[in-house]
């Protein structure tokens, strides 16, 4: 087809695809940029609906220049992937606004295939996959519409057919074609922000409870590990400056060397991390991982070797915290308090330390102090300002969340001469018994203290265990004590509606489905593929896989080719022949049988002679027969009805 048909329909469909793309990227770009894209898309749809001409090139160029400035301003230059995707989508929308020829529309449609794929850099969830797949089919339908005069339904059904045929083969290739290593390193888009921060100020962490966003899932190889609280370590804050616990240069992820240490693993598990741009990862106690993109640090935390924002899975072995003796330098670092404020707390620490005989007893004394002084756990603590915030917390408000307790306790330990550090990560998680995994969400973020006791090494001190012991097991969402507070703090979502049994059931089912999706589809990496192929072909026959792939592909393509070219069975009777044969049978029933060698016209004329009363009907039927069989006229529905009516008249006449 040299000319473009369905101009308006094509334009509206492509604009709708662009609008859906904008919706999918809603949370990854600034509102200003999203509004500009949406306005451009809506303008294009409007132009099609009112059948107005496309804007002139000069007008579009000015608009494009303005949009580009807004894009650079709102997206910035730091995140090159975000910038690339933003430019791609904006470029596609502008190209569509300018498109008026068949070639223009084909370019836009092909670019859309790239834009759709780019969405998966940001989100690989099931819902996103379903939407992107639909848009993918829709895009193929537009390609078909551009090259034909088909109706939308026909083009869409044709596309579904094509994609449904191709999808199993694509999945087969994904499973069996050996996965290639990355050709070169690419920057990752900066996506979902984890609630943790390298700096801990007690007022920050309460914000986490607002979000039910999934951070990671932990799948245990053995049944549920134990009833011990699960402290998922992420960051170590070893420097206390201006009432803030910070990560010193010794603990910053990018400065830590990979430590390979033999561990007597207490537990083995794998973690599927949701997309995020941070370098730190999660593990229990002293963790190490053999994954090629995971570094194990001296402190027993895990970090990414190179930035990877996409969802990925790594296996972890965890053992007890380090018992190695601290060097003088380390002791100095873990005892440093570089300010002279919070004198009351310092005095309290000294007093408590002097009242007990050992560091271990100080730990118990501090726990007892929190209990006796009726400290309580809350997600909405009173604001504490000034330079003596720890004093205010310890002696006035006595209400706070994990950050307050960890901050104050670590300060007191250091004052009392016990090496201490604040660790942030997540506590607990929602356990799914059917698949033996934990879901850890943003609201499970937690901060606690690790103290070094001579002889026993590092151990966890968590004041929350005293003030809210139930918080230690399970998730924050399951903590009855602050249930109402938690739910009122939470953004609207399925978790906030979990009081309703039906919604909670659906939430858990969706959660399970998402876990399986993450584990089997998104997390199907090279290692999993190797294991899968080994199970299927055996270690020795693994070399057969590429041959098997090629073979199966050839067979499928061959079968399809045969199917396409299989001779179509012709209809037995063409046109009016079927009706003519019916008429002959009817006449035979009436005992009027024409000579065998007669042509159809002679037979009809014979019947007319035999049944003079029906002569006009036979003549009309004969006319129809001649028109269709000999004059090549179309056998329309109208003619067919006429033939049937004549047969009925002849049949019913006496």
């Amino acid at each position: 087809m040299s000319e473009l048909n369905n101009h308006s329909l094509i334009n509206i469909t492509l604009s709708s695809i662009n609008m859906c793309l904008i919706l999918l990227l809603l949370s990854f770009f600034s509102p200003l940029f999203i509004i500009i894209l949406a306005l451009l898309g809506a303008w294009n749809i409007y132009l099609s609906i009112v059948n107005n001409a496309k804007p002139k090139t000069r007008k579009l160029n000015i608009l494009a220049a303005i949009s580009l400035v807004v894009m650079f301003y709102s997206v910035g230059f730091k995140d090159t992937v975000n910038l690339f995707v933003a430019m791609l989508i904006m470029g596609t929308i502008f190209k569509l606004l300018q498109a008026h020829t068949k070639k223009n529309y084909q370019t836009v449609t092909t670019l859309n295939f790239f834009c759709l794929s780019a969405i998966y850099l940001f989100d690989q969830g099931i819902i996103t996959t379903v939407i992107v797949s639909l848009l993918f089919v829709l895009n193929f339908a537009v390609l078909a519409l551009i090259d034909s005069t088909h109706k939308f339904k026909k083009a869409f059904l044709g596309s579904i057919k094509m994609v449904l045929f191709g999808l199993p083969i694509a999945i087969f290739l994904l499973l069996f074609l050996p996965k290639l290593p990355a050709f070169w390193q690419l920057p990752s888009p900066k996506v979902a922000k984890t609630g943790l921060n390298e700096q801990i100020n007690p007022f920050d962490i309460a914000k986490l409870s607002n979000s039910d966003e999934l951070v990671f899932r932990a799948k245990f190889n053995k049944p549920k590990p134990s009833t011990h609280p699960l402290y998922w370590r992420a960051l170590i804050h070893d420097q206390f400056v201006n009432n803030t616990w910070q990560t010193s240069k010794y603990s910053r992820p990018y400065q830590v060397n990979n430590i390979k240490k033999r561990l007597t693993a207490e537990s083995d598990y794998s973690i599927i991390v949701e997309p995020n741009a941070n370098m730190w990862l999660y593990g229990l106690n002293y963790s190490s991982s053999e994954h090629k993109n995971v570094k194990s640090t001296f402190e027993g935390t895990l970090i990414k070797r190179k930035p990877q924002s996409a969802k990925f899975q790594y296996s972890v072995s965890s053992a007890a915290l380090n018992t190695d003796t601290l060097s003088k330098e380390q002791v100095k670092r873990y005892l440093s308090i570089s300010n002279t404020y919070n004198s009351q707390t310092q005095a309290l620490a000294h007093k408590l330390r002097n009242s007990v005989g050992s560091d271990a007893e100080f730990v118990s004394a501090l726990q007892l102090y929190f209990k006796d002084q009726l400290f309580s756990y809350t997600l909405t603590p009173p604001p504490l300002t000034g330079e003596n915030t720890i004093d205010q917390f310890m002696f006035d408000s006595k209400r706070g969340f994990c950050g307050h307790y960890a901050s104050a306790a670590a300060f007191m330990f250091r004052t009392a001469g016990i090496p201490a550090r604040v660790v942030s990560g997540y506590l607990g998680g929602e356990y799914n018994s059917s698949d033996n995994y934990y879901s850890i969400r943003q609201y499970d973020a937690h901060a606690w203290v690790e103290i070094y006791l001579t002889g026993t090494g590092w151990q966890i001190f968590d004041a929350t265990s005293t003030v809210a012991p139930m918080r230690l097991n399970g998730s924050l969402s399951q903590l009855q004590q602050i249930s109402d507070e938690f739910k009122s703090n939470l953004d609207f979502g399925l978790v906030s509606l979990s009081d309703f049994a039906v919604i909670n059931y659906i939430r858990i089912k969706l959660e399970n489905l998402d876990y399986k999706w993450s584990s089997w589809v998104v997390g199907f990496d090279k290692q999993k593929q190797r294991d899968f192929l080994k199970r299927l072909f055996g270690e020795k026959n693994i070399w057969l896989v590429p041959l098997f792939c090629v073979g199966v592909l050839c067979v499928i393509i061959g079968i399809y080719f045969v199917y396409l070219n299989f001779p179509v069975k012709k209809e037995k009777a063409i046109g009016i022949v079927k009706e003519y044969e019916t008429l002959v049978k009817i006449m035979a029933k009436k005992n009027i049988i024409s000579p065998e060698h007669y042509s159809p016209q002679q037979k009809l004329s014979y019947f007319a002679q035999q049944r003079p009363g029906n002569k006009p009907y036979f003549e009309q039927f004969n006319d129809l027969f001649v028109q269709i069989r000999y004059q090549q006229q179309a056998y329309t529905k109208q003619r067919k009805n006429q033939a049937i009516n004549l047969i009925n008249l002849i049949k019913n006449s006496k």
Binding site: M1, T110, Q124, V132, I146, M162, I169, A310, F524
Partner: protein
């Protein structure tokens, strides 16, 4: 410079195609099958392949399974399109019915009949070397579909019919499945019709009067106005003339059947093309008026009896005429 380059490229293409394409396309009717169908990704298909490749690279670099599935799916759709495109066009029968010659400045046409056993979608016939000259059909089935293909010739002449490309981009426009039909026939573009000046015609007629012209009064064609007399009747009065001059004049007609005239190229005025154009007008006029004539083209002289309907043959002679011959 660019035009020259394009022309060189075109020449190379034509030479190559002439060498590569075998006799199988030199037919008036061709049924497309495995030995005369060519199939490749179209320009859009190549662009689509490039995007699929970019998706694949992105998927590998980001180790992203979903993008990888999309990339594989795009490759497979392209592959399936090649098969579907072949299957679509296979079995299509294209027959050249005839050609429609025209007068200079208009394009002649080729008329084709298309039919197939099953269904064939989106077929385009185009002049092989200039795709602007094309004609397409959305759906072809058992019934005969007629397509009219304009040709890129405008000047007087007698042209060999070009190779015609039969192409389809079904499905999605990602591939081009094509073949050729080379009918090895010719089409004429007659000279443009130019009404010769009256005096030129009169001179010519006068010069030939002694031999052929025998003009009689009759009723076929208007000749001149003469003074009206009562016995002529009212039906012959020129009322237009009366309205202008208030004087009664009667129309006099010529009986053409008895006229036999000579149209001589050398007697015409103007350039060769102008002379041919005038002759073309005269021949057409002669056929319309049923006048027998003799056509003299250089040394050739052909006596024409207009009752034998060979108008196109004489017009073709004009289109083929070369002065030095």
């Amino acid at each position: 410079m660019q035009k020259q380059r394009a022309s060189i490229f075109n020449n190379i293409k034509v030479t190559l195609q002439n060498k590569l394409l075998k006799q199988k396309h030199k037919k008036r009717t061709i049924t497309l099958s495995h030995n005369n169908i060519y199939i490749l990704p179209s320009v859009l298909g190549a662009f689509f392949f490039l995007v699929a490749l970019l998706n694949f690279i992105m998927a590998v670099n980001y180790q992203n399974n979903l993008i990888l599935v999309m990339a594989y799916l795009m490759f497979i759709v392209l592959l399936i399109s090649l098969l579907a495109g072949y299957s679509n066009i296979k079995g299509l029968t294209v027959s050249m019915l005839n050609t429609i010659p025209t007068y200079a400045a208009q394009s002649p046409h080729m008329i084709f009949n298309l039919t197939t056993d099953s269904t064939c979608q989106g077929v385009t016939l185009s002049y092989a070397y200039d795709k602007r000259y094309n004609s397409d059909c959305e759906n072809i089935d058992e019934k005969i579909t007629e397509l009219n293909l304009p040709l890129p010739f405008k000047n007087r002449g007698f042209y060999s019919l070009p190779r015609v490309k039969i192409a389809s981009h079904f499905p999605f426009g990602l591939i081009t499945a094509w073949s050729y039909i080379d009918t090895q026939e010719c089409v004429a573009i007659y000279p443009k019709k130019i009404n010769p000046f009256n005096n030129e015609l009169n001179t010519m007629q006068a010069s030939e009067n002694t031999d052929f012209k025998n003009q009689l009064l009759g009723s076929d064609d208007f000749n001149q106005l003469i003074k009206h007399s009562p016995e002529m009747g009212l039906q012959r009065i020129s009322w237009r003339h009366y309205a202008k001059t208030q004087s009664l004049m009667a129309k006099q007609f010529i009986d053409n059947e008895s006229i036999h005239t000579v149209f001589d190229f050398n007697q015409m005025q103007g350039s060769s093309e102008q002379r041919l154009s005038k002759l073309c007008f005269l021949i057409n006029d002669a056929y319309e008026s049923n006048i027998n004539f003799t056509l003299k083209l250089g040394v050739k002289a052909v006596c024409v009896d207009t009752r034998l309907d060979e108008k196109s043959r004489f017009l073709t002679m004009l289109s083929q005429f070369e002065e030095n011959v």
